[in-house]
Symmetry: C2
Subunit: 678 residues, 2 copies
C-alpha cells in the first residue's frame, strides 16, 4: 500500500501515479486534464465535480476498490445539503486519491465544455469566452510590507494563472470597500481582448459570486439589427431580438447613406448617433425580455458591413463610396462600450469588433466564414449572405474568394410595393395554381394556409399586412412557374394570362394576391416594378457568384449555402427559378440561418475563434465587383428569369417552366418603355 | 579604392568599414551610433546633422581626404537655403561615405541628448520622452491588396521600429482625411506608457510637422499645486506656475480631509472635482503664459502624497486614515487625461502617475528619490521634502529608508498669524540684531533689504503683506538667536527682552516685525501661537529623521538635502537653530529646490526613469511613523529650540545660543496653560 496510486481520467484517457492523499483536482491539474475550478479548491464553486468509477475496468486494466477515494467529507456534505449534488458525484477538490481509481469528468465540469443551444441557428460552440469570472482570496494589507490593494489582488490573480490584470479608475474606486466587505475574498470579472493584450478587471464582487455574466452578439445590418443575449458562463441564448436600422431615413441602401454623409456636413455624425442609440436600445430590450439587468452585459461582439462598421465607430464612410474603397481600419478592435455611447451596458463593458475583409466585404462576411467555415470545406461551396448588400464566399479548403454584390433592399421587402419586414401578418409563403392562377399563402404568426379551415379566424389577430422578403421571392417565382410572368420578367395582362388577378397598373400589369379592402385592410399585389426590383437584385447576386466562379476557374459548385434570416425561409426551388443562385441539385441547397449573427456569437463565446477569424480574413482573397467589367457583363446577362435555361440543367430535371412571352413589341406598355430606356 | 572605407564616429569612438556610397546615417545605424532621424532619411527633419572632420587624425590613425564624403547635394542645398545649416555641417542621410572619414555627432543630433535647462532647479535630463513624433510615408491603398489605412500606417511605423501602434476612435476618425491631405506622408504623435505596453497614436498631422509637442510635470501638494510646462522635443521648461489647492476649504491638512470624506457622504467626490478642476486650470494658465494652445499638451506626469493621489484619482482616501494605511493602488498608472476631467489638454493626452511607496509615503517621495538618487549615494544622506507632510528619505547605496512625518502646514505659512504663501509682498528673509532686537527683512519681489535705500519706494508696488513659510522659520530662529525666545519656545515680555517689540498678546507675548497700519497695511508679528505651531512642525520633522537614523543604526548623517520650494529659501543655520534637522556641518546642508517637481519632470522627459522609479520604490524600505512608539518619544523630546544643545556639536562650533528662560513657572501665562493641556 505504499506504492503510488494509479489515477485514470475519462474521457481524456490521461493517467498518472500519485501519492495517496493527493486531491483529485491536484492530480487532474498535474496531468493537464480539463477539470474546471474557479474557487481554487475551497469547495465553494462546485465546478470540479467528478464521478468516480468502482469495480473492474478491464479496458484500463484496473480494479477500483470501494475505498479508492477518501471518505465523503463535511464540505461535500454541506455543499450537497445546500446546493445539491447528483448521486455518485464528488467534489474533485475534496476527494483524495487513496488507491487505483478511474475518474470521469462530466461535460459540465470541463472548462471547454461543448454546449448545445437552441436559437435560430442551433450550434455547437466550444466555450472559452473572453469575459469570465474568477474567485480569489487576497492577502490582507500589512503595514510592514506596504503594497496597494490592487497589487495584492494582482498577486492573487497571478496565483490563478492570470498575469498583469489591469483595473481602470472605476474598479480602483470600488476596490477597497469590496475587498473589505468580502473579507478579502472576491469574485473578479475579467476580460481579455483581442491579440495578446493583458486581462482587464471589468468588475469585482465581494465573496463568491455566481452568474450574472452576460454577453451580446450583434449583427448590425443596413436594414435590420439583430441581437442575441448569451449567458457567458454556459453559452445559452437567453433572448434574441431585432430592430429596424433607424439610419434607413438617411437612405435605403449603403451608397445612399454614403452620399448623405458626403452631401450633408455632420450627416455621418447624425447617422452614428442614431445607430448607436438603436443598438443600446436593443441591448436594453433583450435584457428586459430575459429579465436581467443590462448592466450585467459585460461584452458585446458585433459584425456589420464596412459602411455600417465605419458609421457605428464614428468614422466618415466617404472613402468607401469611391475607388479604391479604402477602409480606415480592417483589423479587429476591442473598445470600451461607453466610448460607443452604449450606456445601458455595464460601465466597463467591452466591445469586440470583428475584422473586415475589404472595403466592400465586411466583418459580417468574416463572421459568416467563421460560422460556415468554407476554408475547411472538402467540396466547392458557395455561401450567399443576403442582406441589403449580398456577401458571397466561394471556394474550398484550397482557396476561398469573397465579394460583395449590391443587391439593394428588395430581398428584405423594401422598395417593394406591398413589401414589409418579416413580422406577424406578412405573407411569407405563397403558391399559385398553374391551372386556376389562384394563390394560396401563409402569413407569419398563423399556422394554416389561407385556403385551410381556421385561417380567417386566426388571421384576424394579426391582419394580412404585406409581403416580406422571402414572400416576394416566392411570389415572383410562383408567378413565373404559373405562366403569369415571362422569361424577360414581364407580367401578362388578364387576356394573356386568363385571370382577372392580372390587373392593369399604369401601363403595366400587377398580380393581385389578396384584397383586404372590404375589411379595411390593404390590397396586396406584385407589380411590374416589384418584379424589376427583384430582377435587379437577383442579377447582382448571380453576377457576384459567377464572378467568383470565374476567378476560381469553375463552372459549377457542389453546394450552395443560403445565409441570412431570409435564407432560412425561401425554398431552393424558388431561388433557382428566379436564377438567384447557380444551378446545383436542389438537395444541395442549404440554409444556414443568420450565419453572421452566429459568427458574432462564436466570437463572443470563444476567444480562440477571434484568432481564427483574423487568420481567415487574412487568407480570403477579395474580388472587387465594382471595378470588374465581367461583373457588369454577368449582371446584364442575368436579367431573365431564369436568365438562360441551359445554365440550369439541374433545375430542368425537376421543373419545366412555361414558355410564355408578353412582350408586345410595340411602343406601349412596359416592354416598349424598357427598350427606350436601354 | 575598391576597399571599404573606414568610418569613425565621435564622441562615441564607434568605428566600422562600409562600402563606398553608404549614407552616413546608415553607417551610424549599423554601428549603433546615437544619431537622430525622424523623417527616415529624406532630408526633411535635419535631425541627423553631422560634422565631418578632414585632415590628419593621429589619434584614430587615419587621414581624411577632402573627398571623403560625397558632394554637397541639392537636398542639403535646399535645406540650408530654407532653414539654415551651420557651416561645416552635413545631413547624415544625404552625405555618403566615399573614403576613410571621422564624423562627429553634435549633441543636438543625438537622440538621447543632454539638455541643460534653467528653472527653479537646473538639471541635466537625458531626453527619451514617452511622447514623441515620428514622420512616416504610408503606402497608398490598393484595391487588389485590400488593407485598412490603419494597417498601412502601422506597417510604415513598424518600418521605423515602432511595432503594434494602437489608435483610438478619435484618431481613427481623422486618419483617412489626414493621410490624403498629407499625400500619404504624415507625422504621428506616439506615446508609450509605463511597463512594456504598446505605442499609442495620440495624434496625426498631414506631412512633416515639427514642434507643438508639450508636456506638463505637476507636483500636486496638499496646500499648493506646481506645474512646469516642458517642450517634449528638447526638454526646455517654457513656463512654471503654481496655484493653491482648492481642497484647503475642506481641511488644512491631509487627515482633516480624510475626516471630511468620512463625515460627509460624497465629500471625496467633491474634493476630487475641485482638485481636478484646479489642475486643468493650471494647465491652461501655464499654456497661456507660454503662448501655446493647451491642446498641444500631450502628456502629464504627476506626483502627490497618497491622500492627494487617491483624491485626484477619485478613490475614497478613508483607508489611508487608519491602520494599516492600505493604498488602493501603489504602482504607477498610465491613464487618459479626459477620464480625469482634464479637458484643456489634448483630447488623447495621457497622464503618467508615479508610483507610491506606501500608505504615508507617496509618489512625491518617489519623485524626490528619482531626482536626488539617495539609492546611488556613496555617503549617508538625509533628504527632507517639506510640505504639509514632510517626506524623509535616509540612507545610501546600501539601503534607503523612507517615512512621512505629519508636520502640518506651518512651514508653508498656514496656521501662522501673519502667514501667507510665497508671493510678492511676503517677508521671506529676516535678521534680528542681537543688541538692539530690531529686525530687518526682505520681501519677495523687492531686491533691497528693508533698511536699505530704495526699499520703501520699491515696496510700495507690492505692499508688505505677511510672512511666508521660509520667513517664519528664519523669524523664529532669529528670535531664538537674539534672545527673544528661550529654549522652551516661550517669547519674552518687553521687560525680559528689553524691547517694546515684544508686546503682550493675550496672556503671552508677540514680537512685532512690521507695523504697516499707518499706510493701511497689516501689523506683522510672530505670536506665541506661531512659535508653538513651528515647534510642533519641527519636532515632527526631526522625530522622523531620528526614527530613520535609529532604523539604520546611525547617529549622524554625512549631509542633509532640503527639498521643496521651501528648502530653496531657508538657510542651513536657521534650520539647525530650530532643530528641524539633525546636526551636520553647515556646509553639508544643500538645497534641492522642488525635487518632487523635478522628479515628475524627469519621468515626463525620460521613459527609462519610469522603470527606474519602479525599481526604487520597490527597494526603498518604508518606516511607519504612526505606529512607531519611538516616533512619539523623539517627537516629545524634540520640542526645545534646539531640543538638546549637546545633540548639535556642529552648530555649537559656529554659534552660541543665548541662555535665556522666560518660563514664569506660575499658573498664568502660556507656560502654565501648556502644562494644563499636557
Amino acid at each position: 500500500m505504499t506504492e503510488d496510486a494509479l489515477v485514470i481520467f475519462t474521457p481524456s484517457g490521461k493517467r498518472g501515479r500519485f501519492a495517496r492523499g493527493t486531491p483529485v483536482l491536484t492530480a487532474a491539474r498535474q496531468l493537464g486534464v480539463d477539470l474546471d475550478s474557479v474557487c481554487g479548491g475551497r469547495g465553494i464553486c462546485s465546478k470540479c465535480q467528478i464521478t468516480p468509477g468502482y469495480g473492474e475496468f478491464p479496458k484500463h486494466g484496473v480494479t477500483v476498490a470501494a475505498d479508492a477515494l477518501s471518505d465523503w467529507n463535511a464540505v461535500e456534505d454541506r455543499y450537497k445539503r445546500i446546493r445539491g449534488l447528483i448521486d455518485g458525484r464528488r467534489l474533485g477538490c475534496q476527494a483524495r486519491v487513496m488507491g487505483d481509481v478511474v475518474i470521469d469528468v462530466p461535460p459540465e465540469s470541463q472548462v471547454h465544455k461543448q454546449v448545445i443551444r437552441k436559437s435560430a441557428t442551433e450550434r455547437h460552440i466550444a466555450m472559452d469566452p473572453a469575459t469570465r469570472t474568477v474567485y480569489v482570496e487576497v492577502d490582507e494589507p500589512d503595514m510592514h510590507e506596504p503594497t496597494g490593494d490592487l497589487e495584492r489582488l494582482q498577486r492573487a490573480l497571478a496565483g490563478a494563472g492570470i498575469e498583469a490584470a489591469e483595473a481602470d479608475l472605476s474598479v480602483l474606486r470600488r476596490l477597497q470597500p469590496v475587498l473589505r466587505r468580502g473579507e478579502w475574498k472576491v469574485t473578479v470579472v475579467l476580460n481579455r481582448g483581442n491579440h495578446d493584450t493583458a486581462h482587464r478587471i471589468l468588475d469585482i464582487f465581494p465573496g463568491f459570486h455566481e452568474g450574472g455574466l452576460y454577453g451580446l452578439a450583434v449583427d448590425l445590418g443596413s436594414t435590420t439589427i439583430a441581437a442575441h443575449l448569451c449567458d457567458l458562463t454556459d453559452g445559452r441564448v437567453l433572448a434574441s431580438s431585432g430592430l429596424m436600422n433607424p439610419q434607413i431615413r438617411f437612405g435605403e441602401d449603403l451608397m445612399s447613406r454614403v452620399s448623405y454623409a458626403m452631401m450633408n456636413p455632420g450627416g455621418d455624425v447624425e447617422m452614428t448617433r442614431v445607430v448607436r442609440e438603436a443598438v443600446d436600445h436593443l441591448a436594453k430590450s433583450v435584457a428586459e425580455e430575459a429579465g436581467i439587468d443590462p448592466a450585467q452585459i459585460y461584452e458585446m461582439a458585433i459584425v456589420f458591413n464596412p459602411v455600417m462598421h465605419h458609421l457605428f465607430l464614428g468614422i466618415d464612410p466617404v472613402e468607401l463610396g469611391q475607388a479604391p474603397f479604402a477602409l480606415a481600419v480592417a483589423q479587429s478592435l476591442a473598445l470600451d462600450a461607453r466610448d460607443l455611447g452604449l450606456g445601458s451596458l455595464n460601465h466597463n463593458a467591452r466591445v469586440y469588433v470583428l475584422p473586415c475583409i475589404a472595403g466592400h466585404v465586411g466583418a459580417d462576411c468574416a463572421a459568416v466564414a467563421l460560422a460556415e467555415e468554407p476554408q475547411k470545406s472538402q467540396d466547392m461551396v458557395l455561401i450567399v449572405d443576403v442582406g441589403t448588400n449580398a456577401e458571397l464566399l466561394c471556394g474550398s479548403a484550397a482557396r476561398v474568394l469573397a465579394c460583395s454584390s449590391p443587391t439593394g433592399p428588395a430581398f428584405e421587402g423594401a422598395q417593394i410595393s406591398s413589401g414589409q419586414r418579416a413580422a406577424p401578418g406578412a405573407i411569407e409563403r405563397i403558391e399559385i395554381d398553374p391551372a386556376t392562377k389562384e394563390p394560396r399563402f401563409r402569413i407569419i404568426g398563423v399556422e394554416q394556409w389561407s385556403d385551410e379551415p381556421g385561417f380567417a379566424e386566426a388571421a384576424q389577430q394579426t391582419g394580412i399586412s404585406g409581403i416580406c422578403g422571402s414572400g416576394i421571392i416566392e411570389a415572383v417565382a410562383e408567378m413565373r412557374m404559373a405562366g403569369l410572368v415571362d422569361a424577360s420578367g414581364l407580367v401578362g395582362g388578364p387576356e394573356q394570362t386568363g385571370t382577372a388577378r392580372c390587373e392593369p397598373h399604369g401601363r403595366t400589369f400587377s398580380y393581385l394576391i389578396h384584397d383586404g379592402t372590404a375589411a379595411g385592410g390593404p390590397r396586396i399585389s406584385v407589380t411590374q416594378g416589384d418584379i424589376r426590383a427583384i430582377q435587379l437584385a437577383k442579377s447582382a447576386l448571380y453576377a457576384g457568384a459567377r464572378l467568383l466562379m470565374d476567378e476560381l476557374g469553375i463552372d459549377r459548385v457542389d453546394r450552395v449555402v443560403l445565409a441570412g434570416a431570409f435564407g432560412a425561409h425561401i425554398s431552393a426551388k424558388h431561388a433557382m427559378v428566379l436564377g438567384m443562385i447557380p444551378d446545383v441539385p436542389l438537395n444541395k441547397v442549404f440554409s444556414a440561418g443568420n450565419a453572421a449573427g452566429t459568427g458574432a456569437r462564436i466570437a463572443l463565446l470563444n476567444r480562440g475563434a477571434r484568432d481564427e477569424v483574423e487568420r481567415v480574413v487574412h487568407d480570403i482573397h477579395k474580388v472587387e465587383t465594382a471595378i470588374e467589367p465581367r461583373f457588369q457583363e454577368h449582371f446584364v446577362n442575368a436579367n431573365a428569369i431564369p436568365h438562360a435555361v441551359d445554365a440550369f440543367p439541374e433545375l430542368a430535371k425537376v421543373l419545366r417552366l412555361p414558355e410564355v412571352s408578353f412582350n408586345t413589341g410595340g411602343s406601349g406598355g412596359e416592354g416598349g418603355r424598357r427598350r427606350r430606356r436601354g
